[in-house]
């Protein structure tokens, strides 16, 4: 438990943060959204310039567990506030799922340095796996999640040989080729619905039908509240998993491989083993996220999983800070909310994404919330 001063500081910070996010999510007029965004950007830049940002980082780092609890509570509060708003709840769920997917990319690129330009393809494999199993079998919805992960990991292993035999740009090209191949395959495959895609039956889980609205404590709630809860649970699981990978000998071995393969090999690190491990684990996580995304959308087609989406995953990672878990979540929220809220820019969103990534690389190359030196303990440094 933090001391009372840190307790108050952390709570106040979290309250401010979530009030801001709440107002941003609730805003409907484009002018007010623009005002909120400008305010937010101004505050962040001021905090960074006046070195308050690093003080906040230290505070959060010292009270890690408490901060995580606060973030969870704040998120639940947001869901409670928007309990009837289908659209906002859907956005929140999308943020959770995309965060999980980018955490998968983070294990691959951020830890082991294996570049993956086909993130959206593995996301799609997870989604299509869920759709096929839910349509054709009586497997419960909860099981289709790990199945989606499994299929993504297994199909991803087809790519292992070419990815491991090449390096740098060439292995990036291999994954790009796979992404394009996958898209074409989905479009022409009769069995997977071709360009029309597949629809998924409503998810049933522990006797709860996910397509019906529910009443919680006398309040009528959107059915998306249920999806948000499942998405949040998956995000928490992915968070804990990726954190533990990072703070273990596995994470260290992957870092060693990423930074200097030759030196790592001279210290007995099995470079191939760690690249395979990271790639497969990452794809599993991405596949699980894809399966849940398909269930939440209840209808998927190839245009949900294009090469641009793969680029979006990578941009989120760059923007948030490569290797930084909180950075991934923050950047995902940003990248998902902006184009949705700002319909004017919807058409130009890839332009805006690339401008932001360029600005980040120029002015803050380690990302919005850079990765911290490793501590092996959970729950904050003493």
């Amino acid at each position: 438990m933090p001391n009372s001063r840190d307790f108050l500081r952390c709570s106040a910070l979290a309250a401010l943060l979530f009030t801001y996010i709440g107002f941003l999510l609730g805003a409907e007029e484009e002018l007010s959204i623009a005002a909120y965004l400008l305010c937010g950007a101004g505050v962040v830049i001021a905090l960074v310039l006046f070195d308050v940002f690093s003080a906040i980082e230290r505070l959060v780092q010292a009270n890690e567990t408490f901060w995580q609890v606060l973030m969870l509570a704040g998120t639940l509060a947001l869901i409670a506030v928007f309990h009837q708003d289908h659209y906002t709840l859907f956005l929140i769920g999308t943020i959770f799922i995309y965060s999980v997917a980018v955490l998968g990319i983070n294990v691959q690129l951020g830890y082991a340095g294996v570049i993956n330009f086909s993130g959206a393809s593995f996301f799609g494999i997870g989604g299509y796996t869920a759709a096929v199993f839910l349509q054709n079998t009586s497997i419960p919805g909860s099981l289709t999640l790990p199945l989606g992960g499994l299929f993504a990991a297994v199909i991803g292993s087809l790519l292992l040989l070419p990815v491991l035999r090449t390096s740098g740009h060439y292995s990036a090209l291999v994954t790009m080729a796979f992404a394009l191949l996958m898209k074409v395959f989905l479009e022409v495959s009769e069995w997977l619905g071709g360009p029309q895609g597949l629809s998924l039956p409503p998810l049933e889980f522990m006797g709860i039908n996910f397509a019906e609205d529910i009443v919680i404590m006398g309040k009528e709630c959107s059915f998306y509240v249920k999806y948000d809860m499942v998405c949040l649970a998956l995000l928490v699981l992915a968070f804990v998993f990726v954190r533990r990978v990072e703070r273990s000998w596995m994470g260290l071995a992957m870092d060693a491989v990423r930074i200097d393969e030759t030196a790592a090999a001279c210290f007995g690190v099995n470079v191939t083993r760690w690249k395979i491990t990271a790639f497969t684990m990452g794809n599993f996580v991405i596949g699980m996220a894809g399966a849940l995304y398909a269930m939440m959308l209840s209808y998927i087609n190839p245009s949900n999983f294009t090469f641009s989406d793969s680029l979006l995953f990578l941009s989120i990672l760059l923007l948030g800070g490569i290797g930084s878990i909180w950075g991934v979540i923050a950047a995902t929220a940003f990248m998902v909310v902006i184009p949705e809220k700002f319909q004017v820019v919807q058409e130009y969103r890839y332009l805006i994404y690339s401008a932001m990534v360029l600005a980040m690389i120029l002015f803050r190359p380690s990302g919005l919330l850079p990765r911290k030196p490793r501590s092996y303990a959970m729950g904050g440094r003493s």
Binding site: F241, R244, V245, S248, W249, M250, L252, A253, D255, A256, I259, D260, T262, A263, A264, A265, C266, F267, G268, V269, N270, P373, R374, S375, Y376, A377, M378, R381
Partner: protein, 264 residues
């Protein structure tokens, strides 16, 4: 007589038309500190790279501790008991001191999924023990570094980085240590200090055998028990420091030949 720990016979490394090592024969006894000297480009670092599996030798054989390790992978060579440092420091700069040292210690770590992800309590305990071991090792070289063991290596001075590199090579308890110009980028005093530290460590670990690449002859004379001189990939001679310094071939390689009157 001491037992021969390492030997190579006819070791040759060709890069296209360039012969970086030419039929090198070398034997190292257990407990020796062998100084490897020679002008720039004479094949000293290539020798390290060939032995530690970064390059595959074109010809020749390498034996270590009774085993044939010719052309073995870097990983196998390390597991057999040869650790090294690099001429241009190859630490992971953004990782902490502790992380960097632990990279040399994977031989002893359980890298399995279950013990790393699920048994966090046990993991935490081994981790704390490892911190103790790393601190013990750092204390031998520079006690001031103990306090910043969880800080990134990027913040350290050159000499401290070298120290961490040596710690990383030593924590896995190798039988043979290759030091590739540990003095590069350091002042004369710093080099002397580092060498004293290496000698002090050597007296602790009698079994340790060291091969040292070094340009400063004063240092070579001070710390080595034997020397070998390379020039254009060939061994000119080997023996005690005194014998190689007096060898006319070595003087010629380093200083050039006296010009005879006919040539003028």
């Amino acid at each position: 007589m001491n037992k021969v720990l390492f030997s190579c016979e006819g070791l040759t490394m060709k890069f296209g038309g360039l012969t970086a090592l030419n039929r090198l024969d070398l034997g190292i006894d257990e407990g020796d500190i062998l100084g490897l000297v020679g002008p720039n480009g004479s094949g000293k670092t290539t020798f390290f790279n060939v032995v530690t599996g970064i390059y595959r030798p074109t010809e020749g054989r390498v034996f270590f501790d009774g085993k044939d390790i010719t052309g073995a992978s870097s990983q196998t060579v390390f597991e057999a008991g040869i650790a090294r440092t690099f001429q241009r420091s190859r630490l992971c700069l953004e990782l902490s001191i502790f992380d960097n040292i632990m990279i040399g210690n994977f031989k002893r770590h359980d890298l399995g999924f279950v013990s790393n992800i699920f048994r966090r309590k046990t993991f935490q305990k081994t981790c704390e023990e490892e911190v103790e071991k790393a601190i013990e090792l750092i204390r031998l070289l520079n006690p001031e570094l103990v306090g910043s063991i969880h800080k990134p290596v990027a913040d350290l001075s050159m000499i401290d980085r070298r120290r961490i590199e040596i710690c990383r090579a030593l924590i896995g308890k190798p039988k043979l240590l290759f030091l590739d110009e540990p003095s590069a980028g350091m002042t004369h005093d710093e080099t002397n200090q580092l060498m004293d530290e290496i000698l002090a460590m050597k007296s602790d670990e009698r079994q340790l055998t060291i091969v040292l690449i070094e340009h400063e002859m004063g240092i070579i004379g001070k710390v080595t028990t034997r020397c070998a001189v390379l020039n254009f990939g060939e061994k000119l001679c080997d023996g005690t420091y005194q014998s190689i310094v007096e060898n006319p071939l070595v003087q010629e390689a380093y200083l050039g030949r006296e010009v005879t009157e006919d040539e003028v």
